[in-house]
Symmetry: C2
Subunit: 336 residues, 2 copies
């Protein structure tokens, strides 16, 4: 099946990558949606590289177990928490797509932050529902957060966190950020590490943006205790993954603190899939703002994430060291 002149067999499991000509010089390339069940079953044991978007449903634990040649998985999504790391052989390298969505997701984070800060959703809906006396809105003006001079906390300082921090500075905000690695220096951003860093950031910030990947150590990193450390009128923006926040604790906190706002583009996972249906009736609360995970798809429509994933896959196929190799120990399972 695979040509003897080519060392690699690549399987592309998503239609997001349309043009596969750039691979054909260095690998035999297959598309899962062009193969029937039998052909797919025969092919999988020979595949050494996968280019995926969502985790393909046909890659069950049993089939994955039979893929003895598998060495490389490139994700088009920036987050790789959907990959079942505990079912992968130890020689498999997994690459995220870090940086590919930073611009669009960073802008979206600011869209959520400003929608909350300027009370756009809440007051727009009140006017729509017939609240048409200016006097009824007098109290709102003092609830509005003027960003200039306030403190922005950025948790996670990768590509997206850096875009968010830069925008925060341009609004005249003081920016505190928690990077994953020590030692980095960034002009105009207070980078902090260590055990006291998170509580300090949460206590000082008027607005916090979550921009960490979902890993073993970031899962539910924001729970009841952390929410209590925050200002009563703070804004918490999430553009990482829903499960970074404990949903039950968030629901209680929003109910008890009507001036606190949670604004998110990402939702909790249930049975391995992100879902807009929440366990707690969060969307009935006026201080919960949620967009249906639309920041990433916006980037996809630019073609940049696909192009970056293709280029990184070619690095692997050509024998170069690929970028964005994930530390597998940080991920317990994809089914969080």
């Amino acid at each position: 099946m695979a040509s003897s002149l080519k060392r690699h067999n690549l399987l592309v499991t998503t239609d997001l990558v349309r043009d596969i000509s750039s691979f054909q010089r260095v690998a035999e390339v297959y598309r899962s949606n062009e193969l029937d069940e039998g052909a797919l079953a025969n092919l999988l044991p020979q595949i050494d590289a996968l280019l995926i978007f969502n985790w393909p449903e046909f890659l069950t634990e049993e089939r994955l177990g039979g893929m003895k040649q598998l060495r490389f998985i490139q994700s088009i999504l920036v987050g790789v928490n959907h990959i079942p790391f505990d079912k992968l052989g130890s020689r498999v390298i997994v690459c995220s797509n870090a940086g590919a969505y930073s611009l669009e997701v960073g802008e979206h984070a600011f869209g959520l932050l400003l929608s909350a800060a300027k009370r756009v959703v809440e007051t727009n809906n009140s006017v729509r529902m017939g609240k048409t006396d200016f006097k009824e809105f007098r109290g709102v003006a003092t609830d509005i957060l003027v960003l200039r001079g306030k403190t922005l906390g950025v948790i996670g300082y990768g590509g997206i966190g850096a875009v968010v921090a830069r925008l925060g500075k341009s609004f005249g905000m003081r920016v505190i950020a928690l990077p994953r690695k020590r030692g980095r220096v960034e002009k105009g951003v207070e980078l902090r590490w260590g055990t006291g860093a998170l509580p300090g950031l949460l206590a000082e910030a008027d607005a916090v943006v979550l921009a960490v990947p979902l890993t073993r150590s970031t899962e539910e990193m924001i729970g009841a205790r952390e929410l209590l450390m925050m200002k009563k009128s703070a804004i918490l923006v999430n553009i990482s993954r829903g499960d970074v926040v404990n949903q039950g604790a968030l629901f209680e906190h929003l109910k008890l603190n009507p001036k606190f706002t949670y604004a998110t583009d990402v939702w909790w996972f249930k049975e391995g899939r992100e879902t807009l249906i929440t366990e707690y009736p969060l969307t009935s609360l006026p201080n919960f703002i949620g967009t249906p995970h639309i920041s990433g798809p916006t980037a996809l429509s630019s073609g940049r994430p696909q192009k970056m994933a293709v280029l990184n896959t070619i690095r692997y196929l050509e024998g170069l060291r690929p970028e964005n190799v994930v530390r597998r120990s940080e991920y317990l399972t994809g089914q969080s």
Copy 2:
């Protein structure tokens, strides 16, 4: 009533200015809400300076006609379109409060712009109403406007326009602005003048922010013709005055162009007062976003507009030339 040692009699008609001690060195100071009807009627003919917020209801045309000493009116509002210029003697100087609200209103303009660009209001409300399948939102991602690289048009380049332009640049936008006066130069902003400037800006911009004062020449400057010049998917933000836009034309345009968004903090005047009740059912349209004029009050809660108005009034009382003197010929009437 007035001390012979003090040359000025100042009437303060708003509770927004609480501390009047700074005036007392240079003027007799009165508060309208501390005087009964008779005392007020006796006092008005001696008043030469007024410090106002909204136009006071007791200052009827007849009473104004009797205020022969009136020489100076300081507005705490930045816009002075509420002042009945045609009822004022020719020697009365009117001062706006330009610059006092620029930061808060400029930030609010960006809040409205990003809420529209990132489809926050629309998608949040859809999820709330039970649209909980991600697939139903697939089309939205391509409707989202990524600001970087896009063109922002700023109509009116005073204090607020300059804040908006600066924020636009920090989002990586190309910024075109129409200042009121020729000859100004601003780094990184394309300033334009003359007859072709407005049509050019409207045609090129992905988002337009209205930041002009409401005057004879800006009233309904955006009508059916101007809306047609804009991109079908453009965002029009209004933080100046509702009446800068023709309401009927806007309603028709929003109905015919569902991807066009109008996002406003300011509403149309009716019988001399701004009102949230519109002639056309604008708030029933999904592509209309309206906040209930909350950007200005936010600035008031900082105390800055009051302080600036007080300082400018003192300039007049001390015989210095006050700032922000309005060109009366630009305003036909306050009852627009």
